[in-house]
Subunit: 506 residues, 2 copies
């Protein structure tokens, strides 16, 4: 009975978090220009009401009674896991003082515009004071939450409970060792032609192609919709309503094409959560107070990057689907073969900007940010020394010179809004994707499906092993169940080696 | 200090009510097909959280302290009025037991589909048992809220605090006396041609025309947007974000044309509320717990019908704007004059359906419903006797025979969802519009503006006298301030007499 009452409370928390996400989607996709003035208050109120309901004395009483209720059950039972997750969320959020949340929220809202100004003027010194304050408040938050070894661990935890500074260090080291030689070898090779990617691609045709590709890999439009925004994203309000957005660049076809595959990857995860988990702790992030059915930011990026890169940029994918693209753009691609296209969309080109990075160099942008964030949070790197540290690391990893702050440490907005700890998930996501795919390919029907451009078996594999479980199991539990071991960089390194050997004749 | 804290609480209530409206707009305009399954829970939770916050012991304490705070102020001060309105909302909502709300909500959600089935089969007996339950629960609610003379007054109050059974009775009687002779006189005249309204009007051109007309009368698109739905509506999430929808019928131009003018009328009201009132009791309905800046349903319909009918169906409007419509549809309107068009969109045709009714017969559909609702709620009419009462009244008023239940008492969904007490507002809205317009026209610049198709002076008059005040003054206070007297049917009767004399040569 107490258990059922706690679950009804969790249902309400789900509803409120979904409502917040609906307001955010609307603000980014539909809201008229002047709506901003009042929307931010509406979001702040919803957010405060949700947090207050979670850490209320009433929820505390329900939680204690429910803990007694499920005490006799098996440790592995779903009921016990649900109550445990509510306890964890309660403790995590109760530990953060409301006053600190308020200060961080206030600083975020001015921080973003300070960052935008500094970025426009390419002058980090304009942003440094706000960043110093944000780092100080974030360290305070890490202390309030608590950690075993490193203050940054308290922040990493929010995005994936399985990562710490201690676990990431050897992972990154092995990745650098395994990938850097490839970057160097590719640099000596002739780049492929890619002129045709920058021809004139009318936007309505691009949208038509995006819809075709989204459907091909299994996005369910009866439970979703695809709109246009400058910064693409996926968002879900339960598995029944999972929306994506796409960005179109008239002179760069890959922007919408791979952007769509990426967001559809996120969406497949959310659409695949077990319907029985709707409105339960397994269907939303009560720790981070964000409506998401996927278990972690890393597991989510795993799926986005799996469909965008591992599948969407594979040779076989373009053998099968190039014709579809050519049918939509017969003139633009008249002089192009499937192989030309595959080579072009995989061109390696080390640069300053993370969001423009190719698959091979992307992880170095991530490792750079993760190391720098950890050092900022533990105080071993001062904000004033940040530009030198950033530029030196990029030079060290990719041999790239940073020409100015805009192309350097001012390129991402994240810190201005108080986000620290999420970058590493792009790389753990890549590693996880390769590991899952290695196991999946052992299934003959699945491998045959991929050859033929039928993605149902792979999507079913991911649904059964990852999507359906929602937030029930953590990332490493999911990996052990699916592949027999926790996060392992070897399949990813092997995948990159094989792929770039094929592409560049190494 | 306590006053400021109470106002911050009211700000939060505004935010939550606006959030609810955003979720409702999204559900009706943007949500994918399967989203319905979880959206209703999200709305129910938001609604319960909002009500709980209003009637919480915490709000009660803030309210009592704020009442002490403003005790010394002038009765007419805005501060005192704000606190008084919170008190009124607190008492009204606290009086309705949560259990009764729950029962009515549950019955509504099944009631609607029972009604839809009964309507599809044109069989009132299928709907009668659910309606009996709904009437019983609604009487219970009226008793909980309390009233002086008639239980229906407790429901009328929700939609306009100035109307009671006692005030509506003489109003309706005078309207019947003043309008019925017109209906009878028109029936003997030759109807105008209207064939051209039913030609082929491509939807994209209709949308283009709707946008032009919306802008002409002053809808601000920087604080709004116009989408397409089967049932058009207006909704606001503060004055900064006021949205409308339009319905398009390819073979009936007036549907979108006048539908747009109607919804823009609502929108002008919301966009015109004093910005200083945002997030205060003057900018949302805390009694009915609905995000609306207009003071009553009747005052809102006043504006919708003012722009749709009094202005939009006037002879002068089409003298000036027919060319615009003809420019968009040159072929469809090649053989039509401005006068033909004006006559056609004002054709009188007594019928069974309220939503298809012309301006002259519309009020009879309203009076019929209001009288029947009052009798249902006071128990003088039993649900089983409803079909006979309905059909007899329509025959009596308009001489129209009701062929079946679908065209009769099953045409409106309102009762199935527990709405009782709102219909009379369409008629009081008409009366109010005529009264305001009569005063407004005395201003020379305004009258000249109307002649020239410049609606800025009229919109400014309405903004100053009505829109800007939000919910600060009740309808009759607004009317006294603007016209020197409370609701008066004479200008409306005079307006209809003049208009139909001109149209039909009476």
């Amino acid at each position: 009975m107490s258990y059922a009452m706690l679950m009804e409370r969790v249902g309400e928390l789900n509803d409120l978090l979904n409502a917040q996400s609906i307001l955010t989607w609307d603000a980014r996709v539909m809201m008229p220009e002047n709506g901003h003035e009042t929307r931010s208050k509406q979001l702040a109120t919803l957010s405060a009401v949700t947090r207050d309901l979670l850490v209320s004395s009433d929820t505390c009483r329900l939680l204690e009674a429910a803990e007694a209720d499920v005490n006799q059950l098996e440790e592995s039972s779903a009921e016990k896991a649900m109550v445990r997750q509510v306890r964890e969320a309660f403790d995590y959020n109760e530990a953060i003082p409301a006053d600190l949340i308020r200060k961080r929220t206030e600083l975020s809202s001015i921080g973003f515009s300070i960052w935008a100004k500094a970025r426009a003027e390419s002058d980090f010194s304009l942003f440094a004071p706000a960043l110093e304050q944000m780092v100080a408040l974030t360290r305070e938050m890490a202390e309030a939450i608590g950690y075993k070894e490193h203050p940054y661990d308290a922040l990493l935890y929010l995005y994936d409970s399985q990562d710490t500074v201690t676990t990431l260090k050897p992972l990154f080291s092995r990745l650098r060792e395994g990938i850097l030689p490839l970057v160097q070898a590719v640099a000596e090779k002739e780049p492929p032609r890619f002129d045709f990617l920058e021809r004139d691609y009318p936007l309505d045709k691009q949208r038509q192609l995006s819809l075709i590709m989204a459907e091909k890999i299994g996005y369910d439009f009866a439970r979703g919709r695809m709109d246009t925004t400058l910064h693409p994203f996926e968002v879900s309000f339960t598995r029944n309503d999972v929306r994506i957005t796409t960005r179109y660049n008239q002179n760069h076809l890959p922007t919408s094409l791979f952007g769509t595959l990426h967001e559809v990857g996120h969406a497949l995860y959310e659409q695949g959560v077990d319907p029985a988990y709707t409105r339960t702790p397994f269907a939303t992030d009560l720790v981070g107070l964000y409506a998401v059915g996927g278990v972690s930011f890393g597991a989510h990026e795993c799926q986005a990057r799996l469909w965008e890169n591992f599948i969407g940029r594979s040779r076989r994918f373009w053998d099968v689907h190039f014709q579809t693209v050519q049918d939509v753009f017969p003139e633009q691609l008249a002089d192009v073969t499937a192989e030309d296209f595959w080579r072009a969309v995989n061109r390696v080109s080390p640069g300053c900007l993370r969001t423009n990075a190719d698959e091979l160099t992307y992880d170095f942008h991530i490792m750079l940010r993760t190391d720098i964030e950890a050092a900022l949070i533990d105080g071993s790197l001062a904000v004033k020394d940040l530009p030198d540290a950033w530029n030196a690391k990029l030079k060290d990893y990719l041999g790239v010179e940073v020409p100015n702050d805009t192309a350097g440490l001012l390129q991402d907005f994240h810190w201005s809004s108080g986000h620290f700890g999420n970058f590493s998930n792009y790389t753990t996501g890549n590693v996880m994707a390769a590991q899952l795919l290695e196991t999946a390919r052992r299934d003959e029907a699945l491998a045959t499906g991929l050859e033929a451009g039928n993605y149902d078996p792979l999507r079913r594999f991911m649904a059964e092993n990852i999507y359906a479980h929602g937030r029930r199991y953590n990332r490493d539990e999911l990996l052990v169940r699916a592949t027999g071991r926790t996060l392992d960089p070897e399949p990813y390194i092997a995948y990159l080696n094989a792929k770039y050997a094929d592409l560049y004749g190494l």
